[in-house]
Symmetry: C2
Subunit: 106 residues, 2 copies
């Protein structure tokens, strides 16, 4: 039997903490579901990752900031690849609705 | 500079052929964008794949059929993992709008 799940489901109306869930994890990559609602990275905090990250914003909206560059606004369907050690932070996510992301680390 | 693309964009109003695009391809996995509109697998045709396939229906709707099992209806946000050699076909996709999929073969 094949199990079908839904990336928008299983959430209470408001989520206090940003939510991270591994959907698939192998030695070669990790596929992750992220749900944000008004969350952002701490000020002056930068993600500095060893791996590539493919990011797809499925619903909601967000703003990504890259060090020494202007910010990028993301709407549903937008995707990008963040190379290793490209310092970035999530400067904003929609507070009025959930922002659902798919991230693939490889 | 980071390039942002959108999985819903760059399509004419009607697509004649089902559309497949590799977003990322490494020795370990392939991430693919698929756009269907009323397309389905040929009758009596079954996909019989060597690899696992993670499938996420991002927009639109579709029906998947697994050999000797009942069909599964898919709505936006639905995802599943199809194991290797699990014979399946796409029995239906929405003809009134585009169905956009993300598939990860691993």
């Amino acid at each position: 039997m094949i199990t079908v799940k839904n990336i928008f489901e299983n959430f209470q109306a408001e989520i206090k903490e940003e939510y991270f869930e591994d959907l698939i994890s192998t030695g070669n990559f990790k596929l992750e579901r992220i749900v944000s609602q008004g969350h952002s990275s701490p000020e002056n905090f930068w993600y500095d990752q060893d791996k590539n990250e493919f990011v797809l914003l499925v619903s909601g909206s967000a703003e990504l900031e890259f060090e020494n560059e202007s910010s990028i606004q993301l709407k549903p369907g937008d995707y990008l690849i963040i190379p290793p050690h490209k310092r970035h932070r999530v400067s904003k996510t929609d507070s009025s609705q959930k922002t659902v992301w798919i991230a693939l680390h490889f």
